[in-house]
C-alpha cells in the first residue's frame, strides 16, 4: 500500500502543496482564508466530476483537481468567494475543453490565474510573500518532489531554472550590478513554486526531452522580458500561458513518448473510450484516434 502511494508523484505533490499552504498561513501569515481554500477545492472536485461524466472517462480521479486547487490556494489572493470558485472551474474545465493532440493545452492553475489577473483587479498574486526564511524549507520540499518524480520531468525544471538564472546573471553583468542582486532574485519562493510545481506539470509539457528544454528556455526568456522590460511582476505566469500552445507544435516537430501517471490516468486526460461527437476545432476538441 505504502509502495503504491509512493509510486505516484501526485500523492507527494498533494502532500507538499498542502504542507506549503499550512506553512504559508501559519508560519508566514499569508492572507489566505480557509473558506476560500474550501470553495476552491470543492469547486475543482465538482467540475472534475462533471467533466468525467461528460467525457465518459472510466472513473473519477480526485488527485489532479486537488493539486490544481491547492496550487490556486497557494497563489491566488482575493477577498471574494466567487472568484476562487471561478478560478477552480476555469482550471479544471480547461482540461476537458481546451485540448490538442489528446493533451490539454494549458497548465490548469496557470490558465486560471492568468485569465483572472487579466480580467479583474480583485485578484492578485503575492510573489514577495514567501520571503527569505521560507527559502530553505521550500527548497527541500521542491527537491523532494524531484526525487519522487524520479526525474521524469526534472529536465523542464532544471532547464528553466538554468536559463532563468543565466538571464538574471547576464542582466546583472550587463548593468554592472553586484551578484547579490540576481542571487536575491533567485531566492524567491514564488520562483521555486513556479519551477517545481507549475512548469513541471508532465501533462502540459512537450513529450520529448529536447522539446521540453526548448519550451523551458522559451518560458524563461519571455518571462524575464516581461518582468524586466514590461515591469510585470507576474511575468513568468503570463509567459507560461502565452507559450503553452507552443507545446503542440513542439510535439509535432520533436515527437516523444506521451507521459502517463504511474497511478493510472483516471480523469486527468486519457482518451475517452466512448465515441462522442466533438466540436471540430482542433484546439477545442479531443483529437480522435490520437492513441
Amino acid at each position: 500500500m505504502a509502495h503504491r502511494l509512493l509510486a505516484d508523484p501526485r500523492h507527494f505533490q498533494i502532500a507538499a502543496l498542502g504542507g506549503l499552504l499550512i506553512y504559508g498561513v501559519l508560519g508566514l501569515d499569508f492572507d489566505v482564508r480557509w473558506d476560500v481554500v474550501l470553495v476552491g477545492v470543492v469547486t475543482a472536485l465538482a467540475v472534475q466530476a462533471l467533466g468525467t461524466r461528460w467525457a465518459g472517462l472510466p472513473r473519477f480521479d480526485a488527485r489532479s483537481p486537488l493539486i490544481s486547487s491547492l496550487s490556486l490556494a497557494l497563489l491566488l489572493r482575493t477577498e471574494s468567494l466567487a472568484l476562487p470558485a471561478l478560478a477552480a472551474a476555469i482550471a479544471i474545465g480547461s482540461k476537458f475543453l481546451l485540448r490538442s493532440r489528446d493533451k490539454h493545452l494549458f497548465n490548469p492553475t496557470n490558465l486560471a490565474l492568468v485569465v483572472l489577473l487579466l480580467t479583474t483587479d480583485r485578484v492578485w498574486v503575492s510573489p514577495g510573500q514567501w520571503g527569505h526564511w521560507a527559502f530553505f524549507g521550500f527548497l527541500i520540499a521542491a527537491l523532494g518532489t524531484l526525487v519522487v518524480q524520479r526525474a521524469t520531468r526534472a529536465d523542464v525544471t532544471l532547464a528553466f531554472l538554468g536559463a532563468y538564472a543565466a538571464l538574471l546573471v547576464g542582466r546583472a553583468w550587463y548593468l554592472g550590478d553586484p551578484l547579490a542582486i540576481p542571487l536575491h532574485q533567485m531566492k524567491s519562493g514564488a520562483l521555486l513554486l513556479f519551477a517545481f510545481f507549475m512548469i513541471s506539470d508532465p501533462k502540459t509539457t512537450p513529450d520529448s526531452r529536447a522539446g521540453r528544454i526548448v519550451f523551458a528556455v522559451a518560458v524563461a526568456v519571455l518571462g524575464a522580458w516581461m518582468q524586466f522590460r514590461l515591469w510585470e511582476p507576474n511575468g513568468l505566469l503570463f509567459a507560461l500561458a502565452a507559450l503553452s500552445p507552443l507545446v503542440a507544435v513542439l510535439d509535432r516537430v520533436l515527437p516523444g513518448l506521451r507521459f502517463r501517471w504511474p497511478g493510472g490516468e483516471g480523469g486527468h486526460g486519457g482518451p475517452p473510450p466512448r465515441s462522442r461527437s466533438m466540436p471540430a476545432s482542433p484546439t477545442l476538441a479531443f483529437e480522435r484516434g490520437a492513441s
Binding site: D29, R77, E79, D121, P127, G128, Q129, G131, H132, Q185
Partner: protein, 450 residues
C-alpha cells in the same frame, strides 16, 4: 431582555464616546519624528501614472542639501512641483501606529465589558560653464528648471563615471563607490533628477524648512530606487512609504511585506513611554525578520479611521499630494462607510529599515485588490478600580482575571520589545490582590454551622 437593553443604555451614558470607540480611545501615535533622518515618500499610483512626493527632515545648512534621484523619464517643468511639508506630516500622523486605551468596566455590570470587547474592525544654481564640462564628460543636461526654492537638473549620461565626475565637480556629494549603481540605472534607461536649494529663491519665498519635492510621470515601473542611499551609508536607513491608490493595498513584490504585530495588549504604564516602546518594538521586529522585510503599519480607506490618530486628509490635501483621479468626475466611486467624505483613496503605510547587505535590490511594488483595513494598534486596558466585595464577579475579576491578564501583558511587552521581563514586573507594580472576605460556598451555607 429589558435588562440587557437597559444596561446597554447605562453603558452608553457612562461612557459617552463608546459607540464611536470600538477600536479604543486614541492615546498616542508613533510617527516619523521618532526617527532621526527618516525619509518619507508618498507614492500616488493608478495605472502607469505616478506622483512621487519626497520629504526628508534635513536639518543642516541648505547650501549643503542635494537630492539625487533616478527617474524613469525626462521630466518637463510642469511635471515638477513643490508641496507643502504639512501635507506629508498630516499623512504621517493619520497613518501612524497608534496606542489606544480601554477602561475595564465594573465586572458587576458585565454587559458593558462585552460591548467594549468586540473592538477590532478589522546649493547654488549650476554654473553656466557646467554645460561645457557636461559635454566633455558625456553628460547631457536634458532639462534645467527652477521650481520653488529648488534648482533642478534632469541628467542623462553615456557613462556612469562621467556623470559621477560631473556631479562631484558641481558640488554634489556622491558617495565613493556610487559609479556602479549610477551605471546600473543609466543602463536601465533611467535619467537623474538632481536638486539643490536656490538660496535666493528660498529667501524670496520665505520658507525656512525645505519643502517636499513632487514629480509626476508615466511609467510601468512601480518602484523606489533605494540603492544609491545604501552606498557607503553609515548604518541602516529608515524609510516611510505612503502609497495612495484606488484599488487596494500596496505590497512589495521582491521583499516580504509583514504586518505589524497589531492589537497586542500591553501594560498601562506604557502610556507615558509609547515612543520608546515603539522604537524598541520596531527594532526587535526588524531583528527577528533578519532585516529582510518591509513592514505594513497601516492600510485603510482614506474616508475614515477608528480611532483616528489624525483626521483623514481632505480632498484638497489629497489633490495637492497628487491624487489626480479626484478631479475626474467620471471616476467610479467606491462605497464608503463615511458619507461625509467619499474619497476613493486607499492608503498603505509601509516602513522599511534597510541596508545594502539585506536590501540589495530596489523596492518593487504592486497594487493588490486587498481593501481589508489594517492598523498598527497597541492596546492598554485600565483595570477597574473597585472593591472585591461588591459582587462575586468582582472577586473573580480582581483575584483571577486581572492578575493573569497583567502577567500576560508583561509577557507580551517583553516579547515585543526584548525588554527584561523582571524589570517590567517591578515597573508594573502588579498590586497584590485586595483582601477578600471569604464567601461561604452554598454547601457551607446549607450544612455549615453558621
Amino acid at each position: 431582555m429589558t435588562r440587557r437593553v437597559l444596561s446597554f443604555v447605562v453603558a452608553a451614558l457612562l461612557i459617552p464616546a463608546a459607540a464611536q470607540a470600538f477600536c479604543g480611545f486614541y492615546v498616542a501615535r508613533a510617527d516619523a519624528k521618532l526617527y532621526n533622518q527618516a525619509s518619507q515618500v508618498a507614492l500616488v499610483r493608478d495605472g502607469d501614472r505616478t506622483v512621487l512626493t519626497m520629504a526628508n527632515d534635513y536639518q543642516g545648512d541648505p547650501k549643503e542639501f542635494a537630492l539625487v534621484v533616478p527617474v524613469p523619464t525626462v521630466l518637463q517643468k510642469d511635471q515638477i512641483h513643490v508641496a507643502d511639508g504639512a501635507l506629508v506630516a498630516h499623512l504621517d500622523a493619520y497613518t501612524a501606529p497608534r496606542l489606544v486605551e480601554y477602561f475595564d468596566s465594573n465586572p458587576c455590570a458585565d454587559l458593558l465589558r462585552k460591548e467594549m470587547e468586540f473592538a477590532v474592525g478589522s546649493g547654488a544654481p549650476a554654473p553656466m560653464a557646467a554645460e561645457a564640462a557636461a559635454d566633455r564628460l558625456g553628460v547631457k543636461i536634458e532639462a534645467q528648471y527652477t521650481v520653488g526654492e529648488y534648482d533642478i537638473l534632469i541628467l542623462s549620461a553615456e557613462q556612469s563615471d562621467g556623470l559621477v565626475t560631473w556631479l562631484k565637480g558641481n558640488g554634489y556629494r556622491i558617495p565613493e563607490g556610487a559609479e556602479d549603481v549610477v551605471g546600473s540605472y543609466l543602463r536601465q534607461g533611467m535619467k537623474f533628477f538632481v536638486a539643490k536649494v536656490n538660496l535666493g529663491e528660498q529667501a524670496k519665498l520665505g520658507f525656512s524648512e525645505l519643502r517636499p519635492l513632487q514629480i509626476a510621470f508615466e511609467s510601468p515601473k512601480f518602484m523606489l530606487p533605494i540603492r544609491l542611499g545604501t552606498v557607503n551609508a553609515k548604518g541602516p536607513q529608515e524609510l516611510l512609504i505612503y502609497a495612495l491608490t484606488r484599488t487596494g493595498r500596496v505590497e512589495t513584490t521582491n521583499y516580504r511585506t509583514v504586518k505589524l504585530p497589531s492589537d497586542a495588549e500591553i501594560p498601562p504604564f506604557v502610556k507615558s513611554d509609547f515612543a520608546r516602546f515603539y522604537v524598541d518594538m520596531f527594532g526587535e521586529l526588524v531583528r527577528r525578520e533578519g532585516m529582510r522585510s518591509v513592514f505594513l503599519e497601516y492600510a485603510w480607506d482614506m474616508a475614515w479611521c477608528d480611532p483616528c490618530a489624525a483626521d483623514p486628509l481632505t480632498a484638497d490635501e489629497l489633490r495637492e499630494l497628487g491624487v489626480f483621479w479626484m478631479n475626474d468626475p467620471n471616476s467610479p466611486r467606491m462605497p464608503s462607510l463615511d458619507r461625509r467624505a467619499v474619497q476613493d483613496v486607499f492608503v498603505t503605510r509601509l516602513h522599511v529599515r534597510y541596508d545594502r547587505e539585506n536590501f540589495p535590490a530596489d523596492l518593487q511594488f504592486q497594487e493588490t485588490g486587498n481593501r481589508e483595513n489594517f492598523q498598527g494598534r497597541f492596546i492598554l486596558r485600565h483595570p477597574w478600580q473597585g472593591s472585591p466585595n461588591e459582587c462575586r464577579e468582582a472577586r473573580e475579576y480582581l483575584t483571577v482575571e486581572l492578575p493573569a491578564r497583567q502577567e500576560k501583558e508583561i509577557q507580551t511587552l517583553a516579547h515585543l520589545t526584548g525588554w527584561n521581563v523582571n524589570d517590567l514586573r517591578r515597573k508594573a507594580k502588579i498590586s497584590p490582590p485586595k483582601e477578600v472576605k471569604e464567601e461561604k460556598s452554598w454547601w457551607q451555607k446549607l450544612w455549615g454551622d453558621g
